[in-house]
Amino acid sequence: MSVRSLRLERWSGQLLSAPRTRTRSRAPCCLRQGQQCLSGSNTRSFSASAVSRNPRIEKEFVDEDGDGIGLFEAPTHPVQQEYPSPSPRAALRSSKLAALHARLGLPQKLPLQTVARTLVDPSADSNVDFNNASLAQLGGSIMSYHVSEWLLVTYPRLPMSVLFAAAYAYNGPKTLQLVAKEWGVDTAAAPGREVDPGYLQFEKLAPGTDYAAIKAAGGSSRPDKFNFFRRGMSSRVVYDDEFGDTIPKKNESALPIPTESAYAGFVKALIGSIHLHAGREAAKVFVKEHILSRQLAIDTLFQFKEPIRELSRLCAREGFEHPMARILSETGRLSRHPVFNVGIFSGKDKLGEGSGASLQEARTRAAVMSLKSWYLYSPGKNERVPSDMEAPGEKAAWEPVHIDIGEVIH
């Protein structure tokens, strides 16, 4: 999971392609600064949302001449004084941003301008030099790596579906929205230049929009789209993202997005910016304190189909005696509300127990509990994870962690 979720090839698009090709995206940066010096004040002739629908840069246009004369030709490129997102200079004057920086205890090396950039979603500003897409890609990979390595070391026997669900519960978009809201980050009603940089800016979905249908219509990056029915756990591991969901084929960054995706992008981008400015350890500590410190009831994520058979296959695989259900205690067998307490025994050792209103229910519950206690084995909450070895003061040699042979197949 960890190696796959890093997806180095997916970072490279935005981070590496910009310096290689000279596009017009460089020019407006300079142009913009020049204009700001000239005009000196914000012009508010257009509404914010109208501006954001007119992206200021044609990214497809490649200036192959390299002389840059065409950049200042007025007829082909009309002077646009309106930009979709606030200028970096406004970040220094925003009390909201400064308060957020202080409240989260962010490192001093992380400038306010970068924090402001993490709050601009690609749907608000399509220019990759001013939105948080690249930072979110980096930060999302870092966060996903730390969560998955912690899960794998802490619960080495988790089945794949539970691992996906646990990763989703720790760093899925819904949880990241909760986290960002607890940090006190609000959304701007509509993105625009005049908005305070302390607000999260993105193009909101119209109420009642069926986003799942839009996303499904775009298609996924799976190569087996014609064999859509071949979508088991193994194919999710190979083709899909860290939560077992399909990866959308093309990223229409200018389209409106749901609030949770925008919040998730912000949290990821903030982690990415901490990594870039303050280093690997700071980013790891941040993930630990804000994401991994949360309490997850991981035992509620299990869903079994045939627990009794699965348990007997487990015992056969591990060389234990065949599991037997035995009645530990019971009350009111002939009454309207009987209660049976059934234990599952392998030889003389009790593996688990459960109680229910019928013998069948109690036996099922006991088998489920035994299986859960097998899958939820943990060597300890504070086990060392592989990335701990990269810490500067780490002297002790690495002890291999427990690696399980996998879930029970029955």
Binding site: A169, T300, A325, F345, G352, V368
Partner: protein
């Protein structure tokens, strides 16, 4: 495990608060008419572990008397610990001390059927498959198991390869059950739905 993805409402399972034992959802209320009666009722004799006895230690000591509770899935049984785990040694000594002296186990839920294994030849298996294929309505799994003295599980594995399709039988069975269900009134229907919900919850042990 189920091969589908599991998605539960996150607000219920992810919190930033540690679980707190003393958080009661219901407020305690005095239902007794008078303080005296309530006090009388609460005057319970303490557990014997709280009382001083001749063999209790002379100095200050810790009384370990936890309230009875359902066992937690996070306490891995000794048998499930991997061989290199350090807790194995500790738990083994504790279990040896706490285990009851009598070796009698509680009674089983259902008596194990003494069915012989690996006693049917290929000809027998062919015969099972022929009977099911030709006279499927008569030779049910149960009857075949009784005739050949094997388990119904084994019969079901044999007949799954016999080639005949039992779609017609499945359809007739479904029609029969649907007819029975159509006669149910609202109370029985609700009881049936509740039962299905209970079994689904039992599969999660929720």
């Amino acid at each position: 495990m189920d091969s589908n993805l599991i998605r539960r409402p996150l607000a219920k399972i992810v919190t930033n608060k540690k679980p707190c034992l003393s958080a009661f959802s219901t407020t305690s209320r005095q239902n007794q008419e008078s303080y005296r009666r309530a006090k009388q009722r609460a005057n319970i004799r303490p557990n014997s572990s709280f009382l001083e006895s001749d063999d209790s230690p002379a100095n200050n000591h810790i009384i370990f008397n936890p309230p009875s509770a359902a066992p937690s899935v996070f306490n891995t049984p000794l048998k499930f610990l991997p061989k290199e785990d350090k807790r194995r040694q500790l738990l083994a000594t504790t279990q040896a001390r706490l285990a009851p002296t009598s070796t009698r186990l509680p009674p089983p839920v259902q008596r194990q059927k003494q069915v012989p294994h690996h006693h049917l030849s290929d000809a027998d298996i062919k015969e099972i498959q022929r009977l099911r294929r030709d006279e499927g309505s008569v030779w049910t799994n149960k009857k075949l198991a009784r005739k050949f003295n094997c388990s119904t599980m084994f019969v079901s594995i044999c007949v799954s390869q016999c080639g005949g399709d039992n779609l017609a039988w499945q359809a007739s069975e479904k029609a029969r059950l649907d007819k029975i269900k159509a006669d149910w009134g609202p109370r029985r229907l609700m009881a049936h739905e509740d039962k299905l919900k209970r079994m689904e919850m039992a599969l999660r042990d929720a």
